[in-house]
């Protein structure tokens, strides 16, 4: 199709859309149309309304969906931004073409393709021989018009998984680690499901009930059974002084046990019949099951830094368990590298399918790392949301205590119609999605804790800022000192301008002493450092914990 033809097609589509919106033709109203729904919805558009469409494919900027003309017209009246891609798609076969490289060749010169967004096109074709006519930078995936069980994540097509555009932190990660990949592969959907069913079996895990105490004992035993040192972290909450308990399991780090990565989820539940029936399968047996599965697959693995697996209590009453834990950690001066909070990771509406990762600005690096870990190890699309006012779960007390923390949640705002109801049951969950979330979470936690490498990781990095000056000029410099690593013959020093960002080596030659002065860095940019040890064979250790002189 040439340019003129494409314009004609677009005009036709717009005309049909106008006809649909005006309700001019009852026949069109009943017919199925192919839509693109923009992600930026007008206020007041409910997920339930969107649910009336049949989502087919998620895009970065929205979704491809089917809907009746009547529904499309109503969505338009409600302020949903949508475009009719084909007013009569029935009987046609569609393909999605998407670019694998940032600057793909012009697709329009090859096919009659309709651009959906940058790097993604829609085309109707008789068969997938279309693929043979396209250059290698483009992929083709069939778009099934029959309503699928759920919308396909962006971008899962033709058996291939295409990650979201990577953030600036992507480059910081090395190639996939075989040990992390093995742990991710060990994640068991059956075990995740079993944990959810077990927790649901307590009928209610409302925080003031003895059922929750029993559930806590169950988790405690499960941690022990996975070979972890587990403990009860008791506290009281509310003006009535209700007793409650966080369940904590610890996998001590080998290089620096004082540096901690936390993966946590609340195990209490809520419903309109909370003391007697609050199954809380999605909220939050799903998140708890991920924590328990992470504890299982990571047990016995040697990591540089400590991993804590925490089941928080009394979240539904006001984040009491996590606040108790985070404040105590702050008072102990605990060095928490990052906290991963899983809260409601099992329900899949048709759109969106991606996992939302909620962070505050200081924790944005965690969402970047999560996205990269998911892209590297797990077939999961992730959407980063930087929103410091999103404080309705156990990550918020960690933010308040000055720690980096990340919330994983299926949708925000929530779309689960069973939320806080007695119908929040296992049967409403999508275990494939839970499993994907668990794999990504395991990958992130393992990445942050760092599997022990061949060379001991340096510890105790301290950074002291200095300002050097001449008569007219001023230059910033940082003096770094760390504890010598056993077996190290030298060290490398890396600097980033954002926390846990893309590190760049700053020493020209291997540093022989456990000290280094990084002179003449930018006086305006912050500097974050890690060091590695190098042994006689030239092998390099993992990064040390990050330190900055800010």
């Amino acid at each position: 199709m040439n340019l003129a033809t494409r314009r004609t097609a677009r005009l036709g589509a717009l005309f049909v859309l106008a006809a649909v919106l005006l309700g001019a033709s009852p026949q069109v109203d009943r017919a199925t149309v192919l839509l693109k729904i923009e992600r930026q919805q007008a206020a007041g558009v409910t997920a339930a309304t969107l649910a009336e469409t049949h989502g087919l494919q998620e895009l970065q900027s929205g979704w491809v969906a089917e809907a009746s003309g009547e529904v499309a017209a109503r969505l338009g009246r409600e302020g949903v931004r949508l475009t009719v891609l084909d007013p009569a798609p029935a009987g046609k076969q569609y393909f999605l073409i998407f670019a694998r490289t940032p600057n793909p060749p012009a697709v329009s010169s090859l096919t009659a393709a309709l651009p959906l967004e940058e790097g993604v096109w829609l085309v109707a074709a008789a068969d997938d021989r279309l693929r043979e006519r396209l250059p290698g930078e483009l992929d083709v995936a069939p778009l099934s018009l029959s309503p699928p069980a759920r919308v396909r994540p962006y971008f899962e097509a033709a058996g291939a998984v295409h990650s979201l555009p990577r953030s600036r932190a992507t480059d910081a990660l090395a190639a996939p680690d075989a040990r992390i990949a093995a742990a991710v592969a060990a994640v068991s959907t059956d075990r995740l499901a079993a944990t959810i069913r077990e927790l649901e079996g307590f009928q209610s895990r409302y925080a003031t009930t003895t059922n929750l105490a029993a559930a806590g004992n169950y988790l405690f035993d499960q941690f022990r059974g996975r070979g972890h040192a587990a403990e009860y972290d008791d506290f009281t909450f509310s003006s009535f002084g209700y007793p409650a308990t966080n369940i904590v399991a610890t996998l001590p780090g080998r290089a620096s046990a004082a540096d901690v990565v936390i993966i946590g989820a609340h195990y209490d539940s809520f419903s309109d019949r909370r003391p007697t029936l609050a199954p809380g399968a999605d909220d939050n047996a799903s998140g708890t099951s991920v924590v328990m599965e992470a504890a299982r697959v990571l047990a016995g693995m040697p990591f540089d830094f400590t991993i804590r697996f925490v089941a928080f209590s009394a979240e539904e009453w006001g984040l009491y368990g996590s606040r108790h834990y985070a404040e105590a950690a702050r008072q102990r001066g605990e060095r928490i590298i990052g906290m991963v909070n899983l809260d409601m990771v099992g329900f899949v509406d048709r759109a969106p399918e991606e996992l939302e990762t909620i962070v505050n600005p200081a924790s944005e690096w965690m969402a970047d790392r999560f996205g990269t870990a998911a892209a590297t190890y797990a077939p999961l699309a992730v959407r980063k949301v930087v929103n410091a006012s999103s404080r309705s779960s156990d990550h918020a007390p960690f933010w308040d205590a000055g720690y980096s923390a990340l919330e994983c949640i299926e949708d925000l705002p929530l779309t689960n119609p069973y939320y806080h109801k007695t119908t929040d049951r296992f049967e409403t969950l999508d275990m494939t999605f839970v499993s994907a979330v668990a794999k990504a979470a395991v990958a992130l936690v393992a990445e942050l804790a760092q599997p022990v490498g061949p060379v001991a990781t340096p510890t105790g990095l301290q950074v002291t800022p200095e300002t050097a000056r001449s008569l007219f000029a001023r230059a910033k410099r940082y003096v770094l000192r760390w504890s010598p690593a056993p077996g190290a013959t030298g060290y490398n020093v890396y600097r980033a301008t954002a926390p846990h960002g893309s590190y760049r080596r700053v020493n020209a030659t291997v540093v022989r002493e456990a000290a280094f002065t990084d002179a003449f860095v930018s006086p305006t940019l912050p500097a974050y450092y890690v060091v590695t040890a190098v042994d006689a064979q030239g092998r390099e250790s993992n990064y040390s914990t990050e330190a900055s002189g800010q």
Binding site: E466, R469, S470, F472, A473, A519, F520, P523
Partner: protein
């Protein structure tokens, strides 16, 4: 101009003065008192800026000054003064108010001041006392090679001078004195010092010619 260049300039001027002296001595003397003079001097410069002293310490300036007696007790003058030196960068501590020990990184400074002004002169036999002041324009440059920081510019200021001279012959005299100069550089940028005082106190001694 380098420090060596300044010394060469001073030697050249002194040589010219010597040649002039010899040629003048060969001429028949007249009763007209000399109205023009030029002298070259060197000494010690103590910067007023504490950071200047911390980075470069006291320096040895070289100056050349020419004077023209426009009245029996009044002369106008013009000249040039050179300060060159090497120092070490220092560490700022305590919000930049105190300077830590010097670093190993070398920094190089060049100051070249042009000056012009007026002197009041009081002759007493072979002695002559002069006091006056004027304006200065100072060109400055600093190189911090390790940091790849290079700074240069000009700054206007003023100076005061008090000098005592003694005639050795009708043409030749020696002179010594002090002078105080003030010139301030003000800039705003993230990697530069906002305000730098280039002036300070000089103690100078030298030799000159009159004709």
């Amino acid at each position: 101009m380098t420090g060596g260049g300044a010394v060469r300039t001073a030697v050249l001027v002194a040589g010219m003065m010597g040649a002039s002296l010899l040629s003048l001595q060969a001429q028949p003397q007249t009763a007209t008192p000399p109205v023009r003079s030029v002298f070259v001097s060197a000494g010690v410069f103590r910067p007023a800026d504490a950071a200047f002293r911390a980075v470069y310490g006291s320096r040895a300036p070289v100056a050349v000054q020419a004077e023209w007696r426009v009245a029996p007790h009044v002369a106008v003058f013009g000249g040039v003064r050179f300060v060159r030196g090497r120092g070490n960068a220092v560490v700022e501590t305590g919000a930049g108010t105190s300077l830590g020990p010097g670093l190993s990184e070398t920094v190089r400074l060049g100051l070249t001041s042009g000056r012009a002004g007026v002197l009041l002169i009081a002759p007493r036999g072979r002695w002559e006392f002069a006091v006056g002041g004027g304006v200065t324009v100072t060109g400055y440059s600093e190189d911090w090679d390790a940091a790849d920081l290079h700074t240069n510019g000009t700054s206007a200021g003023w100076m005061l001078q008090a000098r005592l001279s003694r005639n050795l012959t009708r043409r030749l005299f020696v002179t010594g004195g002090i002078e105080y100069g003030s010139a301030t550089v003000s800039r705003s940028a993230s990697d530069v010092i906002g305000r730098v005082r280039l002036g300070g106190l000089d103690a100078l001694g030298g030799v000159g010619l009159r004709w």
